[in-house]
């Protein structure tokens, strides 16, 4: 009984915060989705399913799938970059590890927008990379590095890779070193040890980091706007435009609900998989 009380007291502030600033606003948005847009913006409180019917238009599904593709590619590259980095950090002498981890999170000390603008400076036609390449004689014409899908993926990978490094680092750190030594002593080549021993024990970290990048990327609207030059419409931009430019809150709300549902499904799947993996770990 005492324990239950203690849990309730400890949980209350966190749950209260979530309820107040996440559940209630989401519920509000959800209700907006069932009303009509007023002729001059605003909301007419007339019940309708029209917003959901409009959201089912293949036009919006196409935007959603394209966003998922971009977010998926960003996730893949972020993991490929983050895994070796996290591995190197765990292998570094203990006294350097904290410093290396600080380097990983260093970019967060400056603003997201400023970091994104910095990429514009680097990637544009007259920018650092193109001018260096031309100076070195690698190319005579500037390469189109900015205002395309490539630039958007670069921006997303850059911004979200640190999260993946941290997630993978923490799972790598928890591995019992003796399992690796055992594998090596039994004659497994390096790659086999990685594939059969290390990777399975860190897959939850990879999944946690990956889902994080994917969820943040698919809803992102600043990076496509700035680095994509507005030429790539992602679902985040679509929703933003409905709320602000079109002043169609009900339709924006319906589209948001769809996005939130997909994100929840992903997070839920990840949680289930992590639980199952943890359960297996304990059983073996």
């Amino acid at each position: 009984m005492r324990n239950t009380l203690k849990s309730v007291i400890l949980l209350a502030p966190g749950l209260g915060w979530l309820a107040l600033f996440m559940v209630i606003p989401c519920a509000l948005i959800f209700t907006y989705a069932f009303f009509e847009r007023g002729v001059y913006g605003g909301i007419d409180y007339i019940f309708t399913f029209e917003n959901f019917q409009r959201a089912a238009d293949p036009l919006y599904l196409g935007i959603f799938l394209r966003s998922a593709k971009i977010a998926g590619l960003a996730t893949l590259f972020a993991i490929l970059l983050a895994y070796p980095a996290a591995y190197a950090i765990t292998r570094a002498p203990q006294r350097y590890q904290t410093a290396l981890l600080i380097f990983v999170i260093l970019p967060f000390w400056s603003n997201y927008l400023i970091r994104t603008y910095a990429w514009i400076v680097m990637l544009n036609r007259e920018g650092l990379i193109n001018q260096s390449l031309i100076g070195l004689g690698v190319t005579s014409e500037p390469l189109p590095l900015l205002y395309n899908n490539f630039a958007v993926i670069v921006g997303l990978v850059y911004n979200y890779t640190p999260f993946v490094v941290l997630a993978i680092y923490s799972s790598l750190n928890r591995i019992n070193r003796e399992t690796i030594e055992a594998s090596e002593d039994l004659g497994a080549p390096g790659f086999t040890t990685f594939r059969r021993v290390i990777l399975p024990q860190t897959i939850t970290g990879v999944a946690a980091g990956g889902v994080f990048v994917f969820v943040l990327s698919i809803g992102n609207f600043i990076t496509p706007d700035l680095l994509g030059g507005g030429r790539l419409q992602m679902v985040g931009n679509l929703i933003y435009d409905q709320f602000l430019s079109a002043r169609d809150w009900p339709f924006g709300a319906a589209l948001s609900m769809f996005l939130i549902a997909v994100m929840m499904a992903l997070l839920f799947t990840q949680a289930v998989l992590t639980n199952r993996a943890a359960g297996e770990g304990r059983a073996s």
Binding site: G41, G42, A246
Partner: protein
Amino acid sequence: MTTSDAPRRTFARLTASTACALALLAGAAHADKIVISNWDGYMPPDLLEKFTAETGIEAELSVHATNEEIMGKVVAGGGKGYDVLFVSSPFAEALHNLGLVADIDHAKVPNVANLYPEATELAHDPGNAYSMPYAWGTTGLCYRADRMEEPTSWMDLLAPADDLKGKVTMLSTDRWLMGAAALALGKSLNDTSTGTLTEEEELLIKAKKDLLAYDDSTFYLKLVSGEATMVQAWDGWCNYGIAENAEIKYTIPKEGSDLWVDTIVITKASENKDAAMKFVDYVLGQDTGVWVASNILYKTPNKAAMEALDPALIESFPNMGMKPEELIKYEQLRDLGKGQKEFARTVTQIMAAQ
């Protein structure tokens, strides 16, 4: 009129927050208080301070980055907490139609006499019943005269010559983006009939392939850096480019332009309408107009102010010399009302096109 305040901020180099804090200090003893929402840097930095000193009315500035942002706040809260708003005319019109802005009593705003006669007969609000124009201008082509001939048609932007492909930008705010196509096709800027929207959509999807980017906040910088050779631009913002490179020029294509008007409105929810009207009157004074024109390089509909401008300014920035009779012949963007849904879907089609 804009969706970003950055250039306004850098250009006017003012410290709105300081002005605001000073105003608060100065007016702390007075009971009257009004809250004004404006773009950052869009009025003289010491305006509120002076206003308080002269009238004894405490004034607080709250800034918005975009029309859309302040619109969202005002619609969601019924306008409570704000007395005076600076918004572009289609938004003023929508706020009026939503019943959120108050009528302006001209007897309490004698400086309305400073306005050009043309500025009192604007299509969205003839007679300035609920809105007062603050700045106005056109949307045209801003280009590097050292790299290309003067463009003459909107089609020069929408179907650029080979050497301009990938070196042109269009405004990303939907109304102006669609406006370029409407003007090129000889349609009204406010026509939301399916036929017109389809034609505009086809034209803009084709044009998208040759664009460097959609941009409505840094386009003039792209001209300065040489990344872009020609951009769709508001005249005032093209002036920021001209200020940095005299080879940058502004022109209105033969098919014409829109007339954009940034306005001042008073919220219906204001509990201090008399003080708010005094403020509007103060802003319509000659000094504010001169400041706007000289610092932000926007034309103002304030005749007294425009006539007091330094002729050297007009020489450096020729579009500052455009006369009200030229401006007034262009069509204003109007709130689209029922046509908005179809319009928004068309814009999404264009934005989503590969």
